[in-house]
């Protein structure tokens, strides 16, 4: 809404007056309201008071339409609708319940999808901001790298002065932040250029975007962070200490972000403080994000075209020396969130595929609910034929009848919408915790109102119009004479709708099975290493890094600590990549690297298949001895035995003449989505993690012991540790979420489809009451009667299975394409059958429950009854 002038009343109120009131009164009334609104400025409840006056103006003496004496019988009549709803209780219930359930499901999905799609949408310059990312490749397949180094920004600005307007950098870090007694290890710190807040549109509650980061010792906090450290106290001008050494003065506070942001941070510091370190100006020291502002896409393309030359200019010699190149490209800010394949990217990513799948699920569920409505209205219409006949005889034109029936649809729908909004509000916490999401229901969002209106229009058009037209088309002579209406002409449509409904349900059921099977496979697949009872501890501060040896020794004094090893990255965690040149072998092989101490193999239970592991007795094993995985041997094209003994050079790492001493059996050191890559395990180097293998007994006390020892070595920093199996499970968090969502929503869809079939069966039983009675008199058993009615439906469900199976096969095959390790679909042929059988059984049960009464009814009742 426009908030320029606070004196102006809401435009919609004036519009209301303009629309509804007599034209010669409008000027005066509007004037009065405007003046009144201005007077209200300082009073309480001014909105309420104002709107009270607005609505009070809508009265017979002012309204355009004064002739309110409408012919109630002929036009839309809510009371009539209400009576109709009451008379057909079960149908009304199915309709309202069905719509409500469908709406609740799609509202939740809408809000979830909306929040996913609105990432970073609040930056005013979002269409002109790009992130410079690097492109590298491992043995032929290229991949993007999110981080760049310090010098990129200035060089880009210098080399493309006509195209690039401004640049900014953001460097994510972690560190210990303290204010007096309050100390927290913060994982989301950001160091940024002074123009950061000017460049992006992160809102500031206090401070101006141009100069909050001007001072080298300034810091900008989020509201939450300010509250965490300072409570209700004014944070401005207070001093925060980082890593017990550096002091920063709070110079600004951020407002809540209007939407989510891929960059997540709690505090922003000036990146300038890094400029004094030499490493920061090294082109190879990647760790930060470089953003550029370019006015038009054409200019951006122009820059991208020239980037290879740019890289040659600054890296040419390095490329020549190492024999491989890295390229640079620009990634639009709007694409960052969903580009989740980018590596070394410490920002939040989403998965566009799962968003699309969920959108599809939401639409499917709405469809099922709409089809129910259409089917039941058509079925019911024959019972209302007499009503239509009488109205027509009394001279009601057809258009009025259509209005009445559409009005009824609208009433059911509005009732369902109100109900579903309430239910959504109630179920939100449950929904969020069940699916591990963070969805907020923002009803005042104008898009939501548009969404609801669109929904109403769509549903009315798809499910209201046809029954309305059909109902109003009955010929009064025919229906009043009592001759039987031919219900045959709509049977085809109804059958088709049932088939579509069940196809969707079966699709979701089978998909659920297969996704669960794949998840199961991922969780139970042998990763090739031991992941149980291993605790990993971050080496994230100088105290623990310098006291590492003593920490290890102290840990091993406890008998429940079985092994301790340090490494650059644990399996499932961070693995850098580098080129390797073997003596006597042509070319340069790219491999993943991990630097470890000699306990690595024992701790993870890795198996040496050729040569030997690191030995305590060999001093040459202390540093730069290399062990490779089998995949590496395959990549090089020689057998492990042939490679052992060769010397290795790692260009760019100052490692030469390193001996190859052995080969380890392949293990999944990365997520199962990716194939096993060639890998080098190198002794020595800079370590980032400690892994501790503990006994499962008394694990609580062991953890306390570890924490205690950590405090002894690193008194100023809190410990940060995780269980390895948990962090590995987290790699498949998205898949888990997907599976949960599928289970829930396929359940909802089958429930809705059964509701529909329940209503139809009920209707059939009633329609064929007399026929069934005669059949029973002639000796049919209840069982035969049930067979008779259910046969039709079962055939429909069977057809649905046939339609759904290939679709779900195709869909799941695509989905499985995301995984390097996956289940074989033909092994799971029975799930397709199972999906069909489940649908048939549930449908049959529903029908039997409903038709049982008709089947056992006393035939004299149904036949005698006129």
């Amino acid at each position: 809404m426009h908030k320029g002038n606070p004196i102006e009343p809401p435009a919609i109120s004036l519009q209301l007056i303009r629309r509804l009131c007599k034209r010669d009164l409008v000027e005066e009334l509007e004037g009065n309201l405007v003046e009144y609104h201005a007077q209200l400025q300082n009073s309480s409840f001014k909105k309420l008071k104002y709107w009270y006056q607005v609505f009070n103006y809508l009265r017979p003496s002012t309204l355009k339409v004064t002739n309110l004496k409408l012919h109630t019988m002929f036009n839309f009549n809510p009371i009539l609708t209400f009576r109709n709803l009451l008379r057909h209780k079960s149908t009304s219930f199915i309709n309202i319940f069905g719509f409500t359930l469908g709406l609740v499901a799609s509202i939740f999905l809408y809000f979830y999808i909306y929040s996913e799609l609105s990432y970073d949408s609040f930056h005013t310059e979002k269409d002109r901001i790009y992130r410079a990312i690097r492109v590298s490749g491992i043995n032929g397949s290229p991949y993007n790298i999110g981080v760049t180094s310090g010098p990129f920004a200035k060089a880009l600005l210098n080399d493309f002065p006509d195209d690039i307007n401004t640049v900014t950098r953001a460097y994510p870090e972690d560190g210990l932040v303290s204010f007096g007694e309050k100390k927290f290890f913060e994982e989301n710190l950001l160091f940024a250029d002074a123009n950061f807040f000017d460049f992006f549109s992160f809102p500031l509650a206090i401070g101006s975007p141009e100069d909050v980061l001007k001072d080298i010792n300034s810091v900008v906090l989020t509201k939450a962070a300010a509250k965490k450290y300072f409570g209700e106290q004014d944070p401005m001008g207070e001093i925060l200490t980082v890593d017990n050494r550096f002091e920063f003065i709070v110079s600004g506070v951020m407002d809540e972000f209007p939407a989510k942001s891929n960059l997540e941070f709690d505090m922003v510091f000036p990146i300038e403080i890094y400029e004094r370190f030499e490493w920061f100006s090294n082109w190879w020291n990647n760790g930060l994000f470089t953003y550029v502002h370019i006015s038009t896409p054409a200019q951006a393309q122009n820059v991208i075209d020239q980037l290879p030359g740019f890289m040659d200019k600054y890296f040419g010699d390095d490329f020549k020396a190492s024999g491989r190149r890295v390229d640079l490209t620009l990634e639009p800010l709007n694409d960052i969130y969903f580009n989740n394949k980018t590596r070394f990217d410490f920002v939040r990513h989403g998965d566009i595929q799962s968003v699309l799948i969920l959108a599809l699920v939401a639409v499917s569920i709405l469809f099922i609910a709409c089809f129910n409505y259409v089917n039941l209205s058509i079925a019911q219409s024959f019972m209302r034929a007499k009503e239509v006949g009488v109205r027509k005889v009394l001279g009601v034109p057809r258009s009025r009848l259509i209005t009445q029936f559409l009005g009824e649809s609208l009433m059911i729908l509005i009732f369902s919408i109100l109900l579903s909004v309430g239910i959504c509000q109630l179920l939100k916490p449950l929904f969020n915790s069940a699916f591990g999401l963070d969805v907020t229901l923002n009803w005042s969002d104008p898009n939501v109102i548009v969404f609801f209106l669109a929904l109403i229009v769509t549903i009315i058009v798809t499910s209201g119009i046809y029954p309305a037209i059909l109902l109003s088309s009955f010929k009064p002579v025919v229906v009043l004479k009592g001759s039987k209406l031919s219900s045959g002409r709509n049977v085809g449509l109804r059958k088709a709708l049932v088939i579509v409904q069940f196809s969707i349900s079966i699709f979701l059921i089978v998909a659920t099975f297969l996704i669960a099977a794949q998840n199961n496979y991922l969780n139970s697949k042998d990763l090739g290493f031991d992941k149980e009872a291993i605790v990993t501890i971050d080496l994230n501060n100088s105290e623990i890094r310098s006291g590492l040896e003593s920490f290890k020794e102290r840990l091993l004094t406890n008998s429940n600590v079985r092994r301790v090893s340090t490494m650059s990255g644990e399996p499932g965690g961070y693995h850098d990549a580098s080129g390797f040149i073997f003596s006597g072998v042509e070319g340069n092989t790219r491999m993943r690297t991990v630097f470890v101490d000699r306990d690595y193999f024992d701790l993870f239970g890795l198996e040496i298949v050729a040569g030997r592991g690191f030995s305590k007795d060999m001093s040459t094993d202390e540093e730069n001895a290399m062990i490779f995985n089998e995949k590496a041997a395959k990549e090089i094209g020689l057998s492990p035995e042939e490679i052992i003994g060769k010397r290795v050079r790692m260009p760019g790492w100052d490692i030469e003449n390193a001996p190859v001493i052995g080969f380890v059996k392949d293990f999944h050191f990365k997520s199962l989505r990716d194939d096993i890559e060639p890998m080098a395990i190198i002794s020595g180097g800079r370590h980032r993690k400690i892994a501790v293998k503990v006994n499962t007994e008394d694990i609580g006390n062991t953890l306390l012991f570890i924490d205690e020892k950590y405090k002894e070595v690193s008194p100023n920093y809190p410990i940060s540790y995780r269980f390895l199996d948990e962090s590995l499970a987290q790699l498949y968090e998205d898949e888990k979420k997907q599976a949960k969502v599928f289970i829930a929503f396929s359940g909802i869809s089958i429930l809705l489809a059964c509701l529909g079939i329940f209503g139809l069966a009920a209707y059939t039983a009633q329609q064929r009451q007399k026929e069934l009675g005669i059949r029973k008199v002639l000796g049919a058993t209840p069982q035969q009667i049930i067979n008779l009615i259910s046969k039709d439906f079962v055939i429909l469900v069977a057809i649905a299975t046939v339609i759904a199976s290939p679709t779900v096969w195709y869909f799941i095959k695509n989905w499985l394409g995301n995984f390097a390790y996956r289940i074989e679909l033909p092994d799971y042929w029975y799930t397709f059958l199972l999906g069909g059988i489940i649908a048939v059984v549930i449908a049959l049960l529903t029908i039997i429950v409903k038709t049982y009464r008709a089947a056992v009814a006393d035939p004299t009742q149904s036949i005698r009854n006129e």
């Binding site: 000027e27 009334l29 309201l33 009070n56 103006y57 009265r59 003496s61």
Partner: protein
Amino acid sequence: MKGTNLGEFEELLLLIVLILEEDAYVIRIREEILSQVNRSISMGALHTTLSRLEKKDFLKSDLGGATQERGGRRKRIYELTAAGKAALNDVKEMRANLWNQIPEFSLKFIHA
């Protein structure tokens, strides 16, 4: 139209319009009623009664006096017609007449 009888509220409105003179438009009328007799009447309700009085020919109105605070929109300023003034006088006289007929002690009784 049911004769020219004035209702209590109608009479009040006519009096207020007279008091306000050139300033007799809805917003001011509303304020005046609020401050003089402490009754809060919505503008919509006022509009109904005012237009009824116009129909009865006791009031006439004209558009005029656009101001900045109304966004340049004119206001409807009400004015009593001769018939309106006469009706007010009639009511007043009739009342006075009736008051005069009340026996003295009854009034005292009321005040007690």
